[in-house]
């Protein structure tokens, strides 16, 4: 009996040790396009996720943080890993071997909207989802939660700070969500408006950006949000709390957070700024209509 107890104890010790081992490995479970992304960049991304995991937020973290399910950096990591599954490259149009130097990263999930409109609503038999190269195959963007994010040249620019890069992930991840499918009326804007304006219901699917309003420094550019809890909101809430509530950040990190937070906040329509001035705004919808893994061919 005692021998069995001893064995059981040994086994439980080993199991506990293994679970502790799992806890100490914050490395993301995302897949890299190892053909196109050099190991140094893969390591940079892993280091960014690890750095995010190591951020500590104090008690003055605000309640908007519930966008990431909780109030710790581990909650943000979870939010990211549910939405980013494949990391590829955002290449230049005229040279697929070179990263686009102007972009930090781009989530290709928004391309789903056009595919959905053509295939499901217009019954176009020739409609095909966007495909992106990934390793030696292609990934089809059949829905936003495929979670394909292409890294651009600005991400790996040595001048870009780590907080900028993490903020980029937080922003891009939100484009992977589509809580409800838009209907034909929502989507008709896409056809009639080449700027890509869609109705509010349409915007919620992949949290598409809309043209900034008149009087805005970016008036007319697709660089603003009008629906709550979108990608600019996600970035704003993260960056604001890096500035205000991070207890182990340097002054440089805090200032980077403040700059990102003010910039993200400036991209919110006035009605949305009003929404966030409420200390307890309506809760975000963090679901997506379909969280199946990506289809590959």
């Amino acid at each position: 009996m005692k021998k069995q107890l001893g064995f059981a104890f040994l086994l439980s010790s080993l199991l506990m040790s293994l679970s502790a081992l799992a806890d100490t490995q914050p490395a993301p479970s995302i897949m890299y396009d190892t053909v196109r992304i050099p190991v140094a960049i893969q390591n940079m991304i892993s280091a960014d996720f690890n750095a995010l995991n190591a951020l500590q937020f104090g008690p003055n973290v605000d309640n908007l943080f519930r966008l990431y399910y909780g109030s710790s950096s581990q909650d943000i990591v979870r939010y990211l890993l549910e939405r980013v599954h494949y990391v590829g490259v955002d290449a230049m149009d005229n040279d697929p071997t070179k990263l686009d130097p102007t972009t930090y990263a781009a989530n290709y999930g928004a391309s789903f909207l056009d595919y959905y409109y053509q295939s499901a609503l217009m019954r176009n038999p020739h409609a095909r989802p966007v495909t992106v190269p990934f390793n030696n195959t292609q990934i089809m963007i059949t829905h936003p939660r495929v979670g394909f994010v292409g890294i651009g040249g600005a991400y790996v620019n040595p001048k870009t700070t780590q907080i900028d890069r993490i903020d980029t992930w937080v922003h891009e991840a939100r484009h992977s969500d589509c809580p409800s499918l838009p209907n034909a009326t929502d989507m008709s804007f896409i056809v009639h408006d080449q700027d890509g304006r869609v109705s509010v219901a349409g915007q919620v699917c992949s949290y598409a950006h809309v043209p900034c309003p008149k009087g805005h420094p970016l008036a007319g550019e697709l660089a603003c949000d009008v629906v709550p809890w979108g990608a600019y909101s996600a970035g704003y809430i993260f960056a604001k709390n890096v500035f205000k509530a991070c207890t182990n950040c340097t002054e440089e990190q805090k200032q980077a957070g403040l700059a990102s937070a003010t910039d993200d906040y400036s991209r919110l329509f006035p009605i949305l700024r009003q929404f966030y001035s409420n200390p307890n705004p309506a809760a975000p919808n963090m679901t997506s209509f379909d969280a199946r893994p990506a289809t590959r061919r």
Binding site: K2, K3, G6, F7, F9, L10, S13, L14, M16, S17, A20, L21, T24, A47, A51, A54, D90, D100, T102, T103, Y104, A105, A106, A110, G152, A154, Y155, P158, K159, T160, T161, Q162, D164, D167, H171, H209, P217, L218, E221, L222, A223, A231, Y236, K240, F243, K244, A245, T250, E251, Q253, Q255, A256, L258, A259, A261, T262, Y265, S266, R273, S277
Partner: protein, 191 residues
């Protein structure tokens, strides 16, 4: 006897594994911090901004100098306000490709702010002089981005927290004078 020995061995192994993992975890965290520091330090120097930018040069400092204190060099307080047109160009180039991220002109501004705020945290005299510049920046309505005005205003208010006895009175008065749009943006940053 053998059974109790095997139990002791089991406990010993468990403790050794637990201790080893704790040390490994601590080492991993330490390496992460070192990596973060290295990343930040490896940033290349800021590029020179075009001459069209507005540079805030503070008037010869009205701050009283106490004995044994080195006078503040006005150049140490200078910071360059990002040009809205450059900001717009940088965002448009990036957004054309559906990208996100902080435009370089704002990143450079935030890095200068970090250097100034670190100095200001150490010296009430420097902080007091910097406060004037930040207030001037926040109150600019012409050709100045709301993001930049917000950064200036929030940092001015932080200076009041850093050095309450010297600056909090001015900071409170400044807070009361904020224009509505700026006030909303400042409050959205938690201040």
């Amino acid at each position: 006897m053998r059974r109790s020995q095997s139990m002791l061995v089991a406990i010993f192994i468990g403790v050794v594994i637990w201790f080893g993992l704790s040390r490994w975890e601590a080492q991993t965290k330490k390496n992460l911090r070192a990596q973060q520091t290295a990343d930040l330090q490896s940033d290349v120097p800021l590029s020179v901004l075009p001459a069209s930018k507005i540079t805030l040069r503070l008037p010869s400092s009205p701050v009283k100098k106490e004995k044994n204190q080195t006078p503040i060099n006005p150049q140490d307080l200078e910071f360059t306000l990002p040009d809205p047109e450059t900001y717009r160009e940088q965002v448009i180039i990036s957004e054309k490709h559906e990208g996100a991220g902080l435009p370089p002109v704002l990143r450079e501004f935030s890095q200068r702010m970090a250097a100034l705020m670190e100095k200001a945290a150490q010296s009430p005299e420097f902080a007091s002089a910097l406060f004037n510049g930040l207030q001037e920046c926040a109150e600019r309505t012409e050709n100045t981005l709301i993001q930049v005005r917000t950064i200036c205003a929030v940092n001015a208010l932080r200076l009041g927290e850093f050095h309450p006895s010297e600056i909090s009175e001015k900071a409170n008065a400044f807070r009361g004078s904020l224009a509505p749009e700026l006030k909303q943006s400042v409050e959205a940053m938690g201040y």
